[in-house]
Symmetry: D2
Amino acid sequence: MRIGVLTSGGDCPGLNAVIRSVVHRAVVDHGDEVIGFRDGWKGLLECDYLKLDLDAVGGILARGGTILGSSRVQPSHLRDGVERAKGHVDELGLDAIIPIGGEGTLKAARLMSDSGLPVVGVPKTIDNDIAVTDVTFGFDTAVTVATEALDRLKTTAESHQRVLVVEVMGRHTGWIALHSGMAAGAHAIVVPERPFDIEELTRVVGQRFEAGKRFAIVVAAEGAKPRAGTMAFDEGGKDIYGHERFAGIARQLSIELEERLGKEARPVILGHVQRGGTPTAYDRVLATRFGWHAVEAVHRGEFGHMTALQGTDIVMVPLAEAVETLKTVPADRYDEAECVL
Amino acid sequence: MRIGVLTSGGDCPGLNAVIRSVVHRAVVDHGDEVIGFRDGWKGLLECDYLKLDLDAVGGILARGGTILGSSRVQPSHLRDGVERAKGHVDELGLDAIIPIGGEGTLKAARLMSDSGLPVVGVPKTIDNDIAVTDVTFGFDTAVTVATEALDRLKTTAESHQRVLVVEVMGRHTGWIALHSGMAAGAHAIVVPERPFDIEELTRVVGQRFEAGKRFAIVVAAEGAKPRAGTMAFDEGGKDIYGHERFAGIARQLSIELEERLGKEARPVILGHVQRGGTPTAYDRVLATRFGWHAVEAVHRGEFGHMTALQGTDIVMVPLAEAVETLKTVPADRYDEAECVL
Amino acid sequence: MRIGVLTSGGDCPGLNAVIRSVVHRAVVDHGDEVIGFRDGWKGLLECDYLKLDLDAVGGILARGGTILGSSRVQPSHLRDGVERAKGHVDELGLDAIIPIGGEGTLKAARLMSDSGLPVVGVPKTIDNDIAVTDVTFGFDTAVTVATEALDRLKTTAESHQRVLVVEVMGRHTGWIALHSGMAAGAHAIVVPERPFDIEELTRVVGQRFEAGKRFAIVVAAEGAKPRAGTMAFDEGGKDIYGHERFAGIARQLSIELEERLGKEARPVILGHVQRGGTPTAYDRVLATRFGWHAVEAVHRGEFGHMTALQGTDIVMVPLAEAVETLKTVPADRYDEAECVL
Amino acid sequence: MRIGVLTSGGDCPGLNAVIRSVVHRAVVDHGDEVIGFRDGWKGLLECDYLKLDLDAVGGILARGGTILGSSRVQPSHLRDGVERAKGHVDELGLDAIIPIGGEGTLKAARLMSDSGLPVVGVPKTIDNDIAVTDVTFGFDTAVTVATEALDRLKTTAESHQRVLVVEVMGRHTGWIALHSGMAAGAHAIVVPERPFDIEELTRVVGQRFEAGKRFAIVVAAEGAKPRAGTMAFDEGGKDIYGHERFAGIARQLSIELEERLGKEARPVILGHVQRGGTPTAYDRVLATRFGWHAVEAVHRGEFGHMTALQGTDIVMVPLAEAVETLKTVPADRYDEAECVL
């Protein structure tokens, strides 16, 4: 068989591990040929690719980034994108395409599959917000990086007798905030799924100081937002302290908490460091298994599906199901972590 | 309510996270009282305990070991062990006991439960071999430590043009070997569940050198063993090279591979470093959730059960089921990792 | 002898290691008595202290922060500060005071020493800017944390085809920027000691893209500044893009580079994560040696001095010398690292 | 100019950083040409080399091992080794050779230099035992890896109430044992430079248990040995417990301490994990500076020297001086660390 692989969307630890696994399983075990398209769908649309043999994937298992490059280009961005892609698949004699990517990529994969192309998807997102799979690779690395930072910040917050508001990734869902906050013993966690009440947050943090503690750590997903009407913004989009609405939740919360508590509060924005670099052992195993099972699905002709983890098993789920809903943090998980209502 | 907690058996990253979580949930949220028995069942048998309040568990979430101490004493070791334990539970007015431990501890927990004590177990083992739960805390840390070591050993093996045989924990099951071997891209993995054929292993490793590679890494679970009759031991328990049978699988394999391949081979035994120290973020979250749900089970009166992870949910399973069988690596997981037959 | 210890100023990995070492050397080896003042000079001024024996310092060697607490209070802040301190030293029968702190603390230490108190200082700063000592503890940890972040950011910058401007600590000196930038292979480094020319920086970064590279990493010390007149600020303190002058160097540089290069550029501000948490092995050894030698100086009566590393030796240097000048990055060190002129 | 580089001897974190630095400084800054010999002196003797340009050293700064390969071959191993090497240097038109290696390599470098070849050496050893340089790269990484292991082992030793004897690298000198033992707070350290008295060691460890502690950690350099006559070996080379003399110091000490103290004692041998993998930030900076200054020495014609760190400066010292003596742990450093006499 002849298989094409591509990686699309933002950086995510484990991409190279999937590529390597696809090549190992397909080339070594099945005697397939594998090519890799450069820069995601762009490579497919422009017929820009390289041959992937064992040497090409040597030493990449633990390396961050993707040897194939990535871009945010989608076939639907071009009027004749799908047709052009199909043309190249025919031309190159490909029996299957394995796109590795997030929500947008999987939607594109579904579109391509619906138009008749043999597609097997591999889900990728550090945010862990793809439904039908228990976890996606990259998430554990992001949580690990955030937790290590929180561990370090704790002693600093304590020495300086401060509130630190630490902003972690998660525009639409609070998974990274929830897990890193639990892992590091944060004193409050705010997530997009449950708009917070600033009064309640102030009360929770304030209780710590009343109990004689010298510091507090608040973890905020970047997409966390106040409950409607609880933090005032004027028409110009500035809050009551003159701070811009979109300056980032950590900055806003620091200002609010400092004002309300009379304690020094500082924002820390972890940023891109959460999505790059070497994957954790957990993510390498998951990524490797996804790659292996994607090749198996290709050989079984199980197209229009993507790999997913359910319990300890890798299963195949229809792409249609995968992109229907966002996996948000359920209510009982908030309760466990004492997120702020 | 009044709840007693104890930790029993070997060291395992995450024990303190469970203790902390039990105290947070029980004391803060439910207004319970919690005491901790010293050195496992020994503390219960000798009525040796301390009060656990918020201060007692401050700062322990990320710390390895157990603030309660541990021992390998089981109630059944004493003729009147169960009776004595029951007496102390009555005396102290305890409404529940939460023992945190491995197979032996959970068997003891079941025995205590059968004799009428209100017990909720929390499973603990770095080996990941307890049935009915997808994972146990401590396992991810052990795999992470082993993977970091394997990452480092690769460059050394390459520079020295050697075979390294790296022995990881796992007397009865190969989970740590399987996951760390996959995560680090080991060239062969041997596990207890599938006795290996030394000829086959030699062939697999030899192929690498024939293909021009300069080194190979073999990961061996400490309980891995040769298929019957494939490695000769004389009556004195020595192999054909005069090496003792029980010198450890890594040493034996190094000698065999060096002889058969004509390449320098060296054993590395990772040892206790895999079971100590700060837990990974993954293990801290799992341990925290186990503690939280154990307290909830106590409040629901769901005794005779233990916490378990199934998919993304924490569920309660009967202690009877938990200790019936060992969770071994299933055949399809070997195939994914190309373990040696 | 009776010795008082205190830690003053911001958080710095290794403070606990010094405290532990002082107690080990003084109490165990010399039979001294050691007390620790709470929250820096504040504890001395208010006579707020605790006894430090072996148990008090058990398990703190690798822990971040300081068990004694810290504050930015200096004796000179009070009109009768020095007198009051002297009074308490007499009252408590102290034979020596060991203040551990940065530039401000060492100046206070000198003041106290000049007024007749028996003082032996221990220098502390993650910035590595104290003259007369080759290195200070905390610096290696800060560089290590920044380097790990830079390692991760590289794959992300590459995947996203961006310039990342990473701001590290260093208001007056560029040591952390220089070392972490060299260690991570940054493509340009800007430091306070050498005001940069934005044209030159643009040229250096632009060359990479012209050579076909897909990303660039610029490391900027927080105190780095443009050469006079090379970046325009209007009277309101806003630059030509309307960005505030004090928004941070990384934000300003990102905007400038994005405009000038036509490449996406993003700021990352590492912040407090560089100054907290467990110290590296290097810093633990250095801190331990400083503590040991401070006690020896006390026993030799070598007051008015502080510990310093010169080559591989710990020596004692007069406090007067230590605080005279700031240790800046010398010109030849820039050249090695190809810092931008 | 045309410069040849080679790496010789065992693996050492930082080798690639030196190679990269030589290429950056020579090719980019001076417009030189650089070639790399494969597998150390072997490549020079067999004229086996590759061209090293910027692409060849892309992404290797943080990678363990050496892209040039290594071997233990020395020119003096061949009767006409030196002559043959000189012939190839002439043939290739090389203006300088930069060998990077340990004691043996530097001796060979001196031999080559004495015979008229233009040689600038770069010292390399994780053991830190090369005189005239304060530190060598690789040492900090080895100490860091050992310290991380010791940190983890502490909680395990405590939970299991044991003595752990941890063997670290250092056949002739105790630098790694000294620094990792200090950094981790080991309770006793034994090093080759000061043969230990087993009675004294037993006393030191025993005191801890008498003081109510539950565990002890002993760090032993692999070359540590008992003071003559203090541990009995019979003629067959077995000690009184029937253990072989050369089974390794950690195993011997465990057996002795267990017998003498009546406490469980276990050996842990860290092994090769100390000498491989990604270098610490410290080692990357030092290796980079060594490479930079080696190129400068070539351009100044300062042959027959090697790079060395003295204080914070990189200086050039004659190869003759460098290999004269081994740098052993001086007496006052033992005292600081309370090594066992």
